[in-house]
């Protein structure tokens, strides 16, 4: 599977994110000959355990994240941050959880936007909104380099792309910048060839950052 890096928009301290930023960065992509493609969407949910008996200690995880991707509609990925676990499950696990009344969805986020083709790069620019709401919570950018699927071999190229991208965006003098955080994949037991599990872990890292900045 081609390597993917996730970048998120970090607004400057004291500023809030607005949709103008999204328009501007989309223009940046088109500026480097990005060809606009179709829409894309991912859904991220934060689950919370439903405690039956308030006094009995919970043996299972208290809360965890679940994410599903448009490219893999029949799979759902769970990430347990505390235990550093990432799990691939069938998509009807969500209905099972509902029926069992074991976990409920505390927050559900939609990440949606357009994708752009830049030669061998595939860029997805998306806004983060709470489901059924229009309030923009964050901007997420996925950069995929189609020819390579090895994290190590693609590192240099991805770094250079991010550098070029950062330079382009900085010319627009927007209140903030894109950030890339490399999660420690080996902690989650993931190896060099890229996979959906890697994407799930990257999303978790991004979400933590976003929630931290929203709180501030």
């Amino acid at each position: 599977m081609p390597v993917k890096w996730l970048l998120h928009w970090q607004p400057n301290a004291g500023t809030t994110i607005n949709s103008q930023v999204l328009t501007e960065v989309s223009q940046c992509v088109e500026g480097i000959n990005g060809i606009k493609g179709g829409r894309w969407k991912s859904t991220l949910s934060i689950y919370k355990a439903i405690a039956r008996d308030l006094n009995a200690p919970l043996e299972c995880a208290r809360d965890f994240l679940g994410i599903s991707f448009q490219e893999q509609p029949n799979k759902h990925y769970f990430i347990l941050r505390g235990q550093r676990l990432v799990l691939e499950a069938d998509s009807n696990i969500q209905s099972i959880m509902e029926k069992l009344q074991s976990y409920r969805t505390r927050i559900s986020l939609n990440i949606e936007g357009f994708q752009y083709q830049l030669g061998d790069f595939l860029v997805k620019m998306g806004k983060v909104v709470i489901t059924h709401s229009e309030n923009l919570r964050g901007i997420v950018m996925e950069v995929e380099y189609l020819p390579i699927s090895s994290l190590e071999k693609s590192r240099q190229i991805m770094e250079e792309f991010v550098d070029i991208w950062q330079e382009l965006v900085s010319r627009k003098s927007l209140p903030g910048h894109f950030m890339h955080i490399e999660p420690n994949f080996s902690e989650y037991g993931l190896s060099d060839p890229y996979s959906f599990q890697h994407t799930a872990v990257q999303y978790v890292t991004v979400m933590i950052q976003l929630m931290a900045s929203v709180r501030n």
Binding site: F121, P147, S150, Q156, S191
Partner: protein, 454 residues
């Protein structure tokens, strides 16, 4: 005019060539019309200079042209055999002048269009050495020989690759002809052994071998200890240990290409291929039937994990004569993966293009060592995603925007013109220069950073 030009730039090179050829044809016709018009003017002026008596007797063949500029229906009007008064002549001259002016205007606009599409350029006009060249074959900078200089200039890059493709096609055709119709082999075919055009071969004889050719020949004599397929592949294994070599018979490759999808995850995990159906070259040679199998090898796969997969075809099977080569992503699956196929990724498409040019160069200049040189050159691409561009003053980075195509690409060019031998053990000529060049062999350049090219 700007809109039209922009639209034309988006057309494919063959269309551009066709349009340019059409325009040149129109220009030639206009020039012919202008010449005819000049003739008519001269005749009219000549007639006015004659005495009326002489005018009577001269059979006038002044043709009254129609005002259309394309058709040249000449109607010798019998009425014109009468005396043409000076007034009539003046009228003719005036009409001719209008026509000529129109022709010149058309020609000027055509010239502007040709200039805009890159066919005519300032440098071409400055070259006043008669290289509009209908008489002298021209040797182009990359060694190709063309009969007419302007044909080469026509579509720039497109023409260059068209020449390469034609050469490839010619080579493939002559090889097949030799293989399937050996009884048809005649003198002209034997001259084309190296794959060049017959014209150029005769030229080389007439001008004598150049010093670089001599050097190549001497060098080849010394270094080709690797003459057999087995030697070449063994040598490649030692030179490039990260490269995995697989050999296949022609039909086996088809099976392999379709089985790529199933073994993809295995390869990605970095496990050594336990698939005994397709052993590596070294495992093959360890077996008892290794050398016999090697005689039937027609396809060689070079695989660098996570970097590229290259397919080379040999013709005939078991020989050291490479036929075609193509590069792919190691993750690509499908039956389109073969030595004449094309990758879906731009990076590997460029690699395949360069490989085709390199192959033609090796076959054309040092054909008996071509497979060995090709492999050496291809192994330079192990650093495709790590080696920075060599163009230090301007570039020296990995990813750069390629202006013509508007794509971000790593350095996809590796020079092949001065690929020297690696072993210089017993060479008789000075090898200090050669040693310097051996490090050049794996220098990487972006397409736009290549030294010596526009």
């Amino acid at each position: 005019m700007g809109e039209v030009e922009r639209g034309e730039e988006a057309e494919a090179p063959p269309k551009q060539v066709a349009v340019a050829m059409e325009r040149l044809g129109d220009a030639a016709r206009l020039i012919a019309e202008i010449r005819l018009g000049a003739d008519r003017l001269l005749e009219a002026i000549f007639l006015t200079s004659l005495s009326p008596h002489q005018q009577n007797t001269t059979t006038t063949t002044i043709t009254t042209t129609t005002t259309t500029t394309t058709t040249t229906t000449t109607t010798t009007n019998s009425n014109n055999k009468k005396t043409i008064s000076n007034k009539k002549a003046l009228q003719l001259i005036a009409k001719e002048e209008i026509n000529m002016r129109q022709h010149f205007q058309h020609l000027r606009s055509l010239g502007r269009k040709l200039e805009a599409s890159g066919v005519l350029s300032g440098t071409l006009r400055a070259q006043d050495n008669g290289s509009w060249g209908l008489h002298m074959p021209l040797v182009c900078p990359d060694g190709a020989v063309v009969a007419y200089a302007w044909k080469r200039q026509l579509a720039g890059q497109a023409a260059a690759s068209a020449v390469d493709r034609t050469r490839l096609a010619l080579k493939a055709f002559t090889d097949q002809k030799r293989r399937f119709f050996p009884h048809l082999e005649d003198e002209s075919l034997s001259q084309e052994k190296s794959g060049e055009f017959a014209i150029s071969k005769k030229l080389r004889c007439s001008f004598g071998p150049t010093s670089s050719d001599l050097q190549h020949d001497i060098v080849d004599e010394i270094i080709t200890e690797r003459k057999t397929l087995s030697d070449i592949l063994t040598g490649l294994e030692t030179d490039a240990p990260n490269l995995k070599i697989f050999t296949y018979q022609r039909l086996d490759w088809v099976k392999r290409a379709s089985s790529l999808s199933s073994s993809l995850t295995k390869e990605n995990c970095g496990d050594s291929l336990k698939d005994s159906k397709f052993p590596t070259f070294s495992k093959l040679m360890m077996g008892t039937t290794g050398t016999q199998e090697l005689d039937r090898v027609a396809v060689i796969e070079l695989w660098v994990p996570s970097v590229f997969r290259a397919v080379v075809s040999l013709n005939p099977a078991g020989s050291v004569n490479p036929d075609s080569v193509a590069f792919f992503s190691p993750d690509e699956v499908g039956t389109y993966i073969h030595s004449r196929g094309s990758s879906v990724h731009h990076v590997y498409q460029h690699l395949t293009d360069n490989a085709g040019k390199a192959l033609q160069y090796f076959l054309g200049t040092r054909s008996h060592a071509s497979l060995d040189l090709l492999f050496k050159w291809m192994s330079g691409y192990q650093t495709l995603f790590t080696k920075l561009c060599r163009y230090v003053s301007k570039c020296s980075c990995l990813l750069a925007m390629d202006k013509p195509s508007g794509l971000l690409l790593p350095p996809v060019y590796r020079p092949f013109q001065q690929l020297p031998p690696k072993q210089n053990a017993s060479s008789t000529q000075p090898n200090s220069a050669a040693k310097d060049q051996s490090s050049d062999a794996s220098h990487a350049y972006h397409i736009g950073c290549v030294p010596g090219e526009a």
